[in-house]
């Protein structure tokens, strides 16, 4: 194609990539400003961060109808990816605000510049993940996210625990990216392309001769990489350590955003590459490539391991880490169905999980900062000392369990709906999920028990409070947890619409 055409194409692509570019530019901006800001006015860097995110939101809102492939099929911009981009930006915003109230991040006037820079980079990476329609793009995006998250996790340089978690995280992470890139190379070798849609075409082409064994190995390796991102068993081991060590806002952020990104990517990968035309319900898998059963096994493993292990945790952050593993298991149910309602349920769940889990982590952070400990034993009777914080905590816990009237229930409900839509096929899966929910109820309410049912160590402990803005933010989490739990049709419609707009 001639030069003009190329230029115009690039320009249109660039235009369509506006949100990502905004974030990217913002990244530079923050980086530069940070250099010139004095230590005393550190906080202002966050304002810039929020500004960038806000702008990103605005430009996202102008992409609701777009459906295109840019930069020669590297990135596809569709309702699906936009939905996720919203999630990333919003969670980044919330996590950003959380960080402002976090003591561990702000103690001894630590510089927050890098923190927000890296976070911005992470957002950028996740946005690319959501859109990536090409193995190259996928890999780059994943790496961008990983790298930034390594840094965030080990952000508290002088804190041993944070440091340890960082080390484990980066070693495990780069290992699995090694697995993934090797898998990618194999796939590339077999199909001779890196673009997902072309791969699909090759696989569908009966003439093409594919060695199933190689393909299997390759895809398993890729799956390893993706599984690591969403913390699905058996690639989940890093998560508890990383979350426990990381600063709480980071842990909160990690537990929602990259997970969502991972799911977004995983789904796009499997759906685009290995499945033929969509039919009434679900999609027709290509011959000899039945990933569903594997994913089902992973899903069951993930939720079960996550829940039963969480039973024994004494550290709230760690417990929440395991719980987030368990939730990944639930979400996988939606992925493996590969039906419209399944995907919608997954997106829906991720959105709602964002609210309640950030909320839970946030309260954890506040309480933890107040009593200088995340050990449950130190939280005895805290409920009546700090009702303003503890009651919302109960709401979040109830939501994580899935009590009706909360977002958690709606999410689970739609997942079950999607599962049972397949008739009796995945009934067993639903039953296992039910059993798991019951188990989870036990450890979630263990926290409630500690907070309210136990007597605090010294009876005359003075009430615990938090600054008003912090409490306000708390309600920013708590209120939607209930309201959206009762009134959810708009979001569902949105998710449903986005699903229909997935493009290879």
């Amino acid at each position: 194609m001639n030069l003009d055409a190329l230029i115009t194409y690039t320009l249109t692509s660039t235009a369509l990539l506006q949100p990502e570019l905004l974030v990217a530019v913002g990244l530079m901006l923050i980086l530069v400003t940070d250099l010139f800001l004095k230590k005393t006015v550190q906080k202002w860097i966050s304002v810039l961060f929020f500004l960038v995110m806000g702008l990103a939101l605005i430009s996202l809102s102008r992409q609701s109808e777009v459906q295109a492939q840019v930069f020669s099929g590297m990135i596809s911009i569709d309702g699906y990816s936009v939905f996720f981009k919203y999630l990333f930006v919003v969670s980044a915003l919330l996590a950003g605000v959380m960080s402002l109230f976090s003591e561990e991040l702000n103690q001894n006037r630590r510089r927050l510049g890098e923190y927000f820079i890296v976070m911005t980079g992470m957002v950028l990476g996740m946005m690319l993940m959501a859109g990536a329609a090409n193995l190259l793009m996928m890999f780059v995006a994943i790496e961008l996210v990983s790298l930034s998250s390594y840094i965030l996790v080990s952000y508290l340089k002088d804190d041993k625990i944070s440091n340890e978690s960082g080390v484990k995280y980066i070693i495990y992470g780069s290992f699995s990216s090694g697995l993934m890139i090797y898998g990618i190379s194999l796939i590339y070798g077999i199909t001779g392309t890196l673009s997902l849609s072309e791969m699909n075409a090759v696989l569908q082409n009966p003439a093409a001769t594919i060695d199933p064994v190689t393909l299997t190995i390759a895809v398993l390796l890729v799956l390893g990489g993706l599984g690591y991102k969403v913390a699905a068993a058996p690639f989940h081991f890093w998560a508890p350590d990383a979350y426990q060590g990381a600063p709480t806002p980071v842990a909160a952020f990690l537990s929602v955003a990259p997970k969502a990104a991972g799911f977004a990517m995983m789904l796009r990968f499997f759906k685009t590459v290995f499945f033929g035309s969509a039919t009434q319900d679900g999609y027709v898998p290509l011959a000899s490539l039945d990933w569903v059963s594997i994913l089902a096994v992973i899903s069951v493993l993930t939720m079960t391991i996550g829940n039963v292990t969480a039973l024994w945790q004494q550290n709230v952050k760690r417990m929440l880490a395991y719980s987030s593993i368990a939730h990944a298991g639930y979400i996988l149910m939606g992925v493996l169905l590969l039906s419209d309602s399944g995907i919608a349920a997954m997106m829906f769940y991720l959105a709602y999980y964002l609210i309640m889990n950030l909320g839970a982590f946030y309260v954890t952070m506040l309480l933890g900062d107040r009593v200088q400990s995340y050990e449950l034993d130190d939280w005895r009777g805290l409920g009546f000392r700090a009702p303003v914080l503890a009651v919302p905590m109960v709401i979040f816990l109830a939501s994580l369990i899935g009590i009706p009237g909360t977002v958690g229930f709606t999410g689970k409900f739609l997942l079950f709906v999607a599962v049972l839509q397949q008739g009796s096929l995945y009934f067993w899966l639903a039953l296992i999920a039910v059993a798991n929910s019951v188990v989870s109820a036990f450890y979630y309410f263990k926290v409630a028990k500690i907070l309210f049912l136990k007597k605090s160590a010294d009876p005359h402990a003075e009430p615990v409070t938090a600054p008003v803005p912090a409490v306000v933010l708390l309600f920013v989490f708590a209120v939607p947890t209930i309201v959206l739990g009762i009134w959810w049709s708009p979001l569902y419609n949105w998710a449903m619409a986005s699903v229909r707009m997935i493009t290879g």
């Binding site: 340890e164 090797y182 590339y188």
Partner: protein, 102 residues
Amino acid sequence: MESLTLNHFLTLSAVLFSLGVFGVMTRRNAVVVLMGIELMLNSANINLIAFSRYNGNMDGQMLAIFVIVLAAAEAAVALAIILNLYSNYNTVNLDEVDQLKE
């Protein structure tokens, strides 16, 4: 004399990859572990380039370049963190960093 076939490269990369994985799993020194990871990445690179040569398109090579870059970045971050680890623990032996468990 016969020329190099794809399989030669694949075998080589496979061997390298396995070596890498083995190294990662067995070595105790964090830095050596990192080297193992580098091996894995580069074995992938060999694959990519070989395939790209045989598939007759440039995608593989492009990706390979990206991988090299990212590997470098990763190494940088990792080394930084490991350095920090040393200053905290006075060791880079991975077996000794297991406060967080169960």
